[in-house]
Amino acid sequence: MNAMICVRMLALAALFLLAPVAARAVQPDEIMADPKLEARARALSAELRCMVCQNESIDESNADLARDLRLLVRERLQAGDSDDQIRAFLVQRYGDFILLKPPFKLETWLLWGAPFLVLLTGGCVILFARRRQQSFAVSAPLSEAERAKLDAVLGED
């Protein structure tokens, strides 16, 4: 090893430290040999939040933490864990915050239920409005005299 290479390595390292590198996300060296496991890793990563980023999954993020988490997920997959086991493990470590799809529980039932509540309320309002409208609409049929009058008016036209 000569000194020249060392200096160049140092310079490069300094460059990397100074410049937050763009467009990294999943890197080639992270990819697993087994394509099935890798596909599972990608799918899982897309559902996990990079906690130091704004609304990015670890699959998209360039942050170091995201890389660590991606490697962690792959490590567990290699060890034979199921997707649920990995999620449970991460939630235990980092809390629900890491799940981009929040679990259904007491604190989140309103979140998950909101679309259905709106549909249900809207549907009820529409039905109720129809009922009311129909009760207005039903009126006595025309009497003979009225019909004659109407025909006369229409005939004039």
Binding site: A22, A25, F97, L119
Partner: protein, 661 residues
């Protein structure tokens, strides 16, 4: 000096807005025509003053006047001229000024183009518009003054966030604001109508062009933003369910619903209460969006403001305007008489269903965006709501709309025959099913993509079924069709194109399932396939930009025969002023698909990490939005919207207003 005059113009604009928010209203209550006549010239003057202030700030940015804090924080003398101009709205203060500029632009437009409106309605609309203007001018002057000076100006500025130094940013925010803030006119119309207590078909007809303008701008603005994110963020994604994106999607959903229910109100005098409610809701959601983005309550890629004083101020504006209008609504709504009756299976029926689904979609986005904030504020517990949530809730609510669209277009008003309509749609059903079968046999791939593609083709074909029927009513002949085409109202074409446009977008979205992605480490000379193409990295070369340095991965894209079809230059850029870097994707549009490549900085051994996508039909996602906007423009050019017609309609109120269908 010019900076001070700009600042002063802003103060004058506030004073004028305060006058204009009281005098015309007083005039309309006292039935004094002279007081009401104050509103239009005051609105025009207000626009001129804000435009002057905006121009002053732009000049300060262009000449790099580093005695202004705003310029120091967001500009750099070496920044290209275009980004000096667009950088004016690439920061909190400047973007709020743009907000107010667009607001006063709409006020001026009402003053100019609504001569045919009843005087009191126009006076009230402009007064309400001035309330909003006054509130936001006060906000700018008190908390976000773009004209603040520095005692000791530095020699150089901090530059603009590199992500924002892009042509996409030049178009995206102004378009989005035209949409966002354009909805303020709808709000002002609704509030004015509630104050005057007169809500009828004339109101619906008068307000529709404004909703259309806002809707077209929002559609284009969202599409533009999505394309910008697609090529600057370097992940190849185009929609992230980011709170800031959601903030623009909510008004779009509400405006879409509003656009459809004003049709019912105009033609049938039905759904009045609901129309007014939606008009208020749409702008309220714009305000909520402004609050989310501008208060710094969520900090994301787009949000560049964080100062609690501002948040509280906008929250106050939010509460006053939303609360006030809904209180007025509650007072007046019970007095509204419901109009035309209709059977469940009718044009009105499908439009009600459309509104129900769009509202539910909107509510889903709303809760999904705000729930984590509320939960954290109330319990301190942090949760995340991201794409997987919206895919499970929003998508199933939105998809039925695609099935409904062609059916609704074909159903007649009042009462319709569903079997007859379904029979008329046979060609659309057939097209969708055949397409699905062909795709399944030929491409295979994910079932979701196959099914959605079929649905998309059904929508595209079905959107034109009504037009086809009306054009070829008595046999197909070139002269007959062209004669009928001239006779048909433009909005019939507009509807067809707008609906087909969203079908085209759906096709583009469906096709993402057939895309490929490769993440590899490449050395110059390495080859890799992307869909039907082969990419060769020819070399990694450094280059110097005006205010950045970049490493460019020159890559040749070759077709099946080995011929070079495109050269792409994905780059990794470094902006020294901020010490930030960003990716610049290399994109080749080949037919309707794209080869997309982004690279990271090279490793010591000279190889680069590259992300390479083949995205078939991806361009359709944005072309669909363009077609939608084109449809909107066709509708907008319909003669029934021209002011003269509105005047005739108003004069001819007595013999029942039955507009030509």
């Amino acid at each position: 000096m010019i900076v001070e005059t700009g600042h002063y113009a802003l103060v004058l604009a506030l004073a004028l807005a305060l006058v204009n928010s009281v005098v015309p209203l007083w005039g309309s209550i006292a039935r004094d025509g002279r007081l009401m006549a104050v509103a239009p010239p005051a609105a025009l003057m207000g626009f001129a003053l804000v435009a002057y202030a905006y121009l002053a700030l732009t000049i300060a940015h262009v000449v790099s006047d580093f005695s202004l804090i705003n310029v120091v924080e967001n500009s750099h003398s070496a920044k290209p001229l275009i980004y000096k101009i667009t950088g004016v709205w690439g920061n909190h203060e400047g973007s709020m000024l743009l907000w107010v500029l667009v607001l006063s632009l709409f006020g001026a437009a009402v003053a100019l183009f609504s001569r045919s409106m009843p005087d009191d309605l126009r006076a009230n609309v402009l007064a309400v518009q001035s309330w909003i203007g006054a509130a936001f001018l006060l906000f700018i002057l008190l908390t976000s003054n773009p004209f603040a000076r520095l005692a000791e100006p530095p020699a150089e500025g901090n530059d603009l966030n590199p992500l924002l130094q892009d042509p996409g940013l030049a178009i995206h925010p102004p378009l989005l604001y035209l949409g966002y803030v354009g909805l303020s006119i709808t709000y002002s119309f609704a509030a004015a109508a509630l104050i005057a207590g007169r809500i009828d078909a004339v109101f619906a007809r008068l307000v529709r062009p404004w909703i259309l303008i806002a809707w077209i701008s929002l559609t284009l603005g969202i599409a533009m933003g999505s394309y910008w994110a697609y090529y600057t963020l370097g992940w190849g994604g185009f929609w992230f369910w980011d709170p800031v994106e959601n903030a623009s999607l909510m008004p779009w959903l509400a405006a879409t619903a509003l656009l459809h229910c004003t049709v019912v109100m105009e033609k049938r005098e039905a759904l009045k209460i609901w129309t007014i409610f939606l008009a208020i809701l749409a702008f309220s959601l714009s305000l909520v969006g402004t609050f989310l983005v501008r208060s710094g309550v969520l900090t994301s890629v787009h949000a560049f403001a964080s100062d609690p004083a501002r948040g509280v101020f906008i929250l106050l504006i939010l509460v006053i305007f939303i609360g006030g209008s809904f209180a007025l609504f509650a007072l007046r709504a019970s007095g509204l008489k419901q109009g035309g009756l209709f059977a469940p299976i009718s044009r009105e029926g499908t439009l009600v269903l459309n509104n129900l689904l769009l509202t539910a979609c909107c509510a889903t986005v709303f809760t999904g965006t705000l729930y984590p904030l509320a939960l954290e504020a109330l319990t301190g517990e942090k949760i995340s709501v991201g794409a997987p949530f919206f895919n499970l809730t929003f998508v199933p609510l939105f998809l039925p709309l695609f099935i409904l669209m062609p059916v609704g277009q074909l159903l007649p008003w009042k009462r319709g025959d569903l079997t007859g309509v379904l029979q008329r749609l046979w060609a659309a059903f057939a097209a969708g099913l055949v397409f699905m079968a062909v795709l399944a046999a030929w491409r295979g791939g994910p079932a979701v993509s196959v099914i959605l593609s079929g649905l998309a083709l059904y929508v595209i074909v079905g959107s034109f079924a009504d037009l086809w029927r009306r054009l070829t009513g008595s046999g197909v002949s070139v002269s007959g069709v062209s004669q009928r085409a001239r006779g048909l109202p433009r909005h019939a074409f507009g509807t067809a194109f707008a609906h087909a446009g969203i079908g085209v977008t759906l096709l583009g979205l469906a096709a993402t399932g057939w895309g490929t992605e490769k993440i590899i480490s490449m050395k110059p000379g390495d080859r890799v396939t992307a869909g039907p193409y082969e990419l060769t990295l020819e070399g990694v070369v450094p280059r110097q930009g005006p205010n950045y340095s970049e490493l460019v991965g020159r890559t040749a894209v070759r077709g099946a025969k080995g011929n070079t079809v495109a050269m792409i230059e994905p780059a990794s850029r470094f902006y020294p002023a901020r010490g930030m870097s960003r990716a610049e994707a290399g994109i080749a549009t080949l037919g309707l698909g794209q080869v997309y490549m982004s690279i990271a900085d090279p490793a010591p051994n000279g190889s680069v990490n590259a992300r390479i996508f083949w995205k078939p039909l991806v361009v359709l996602i944005w072309i669909g939005a363009l077609i939608m906007a084109f449809g909107g423009c066709l509708s907008l050019s319909d003669r029934s919207f021209r002011v003269g017609i509105a005047r005739r309609l108003r004069k001819a109120q007595a013999p029942s207003p039955q507009p030509a269908e």
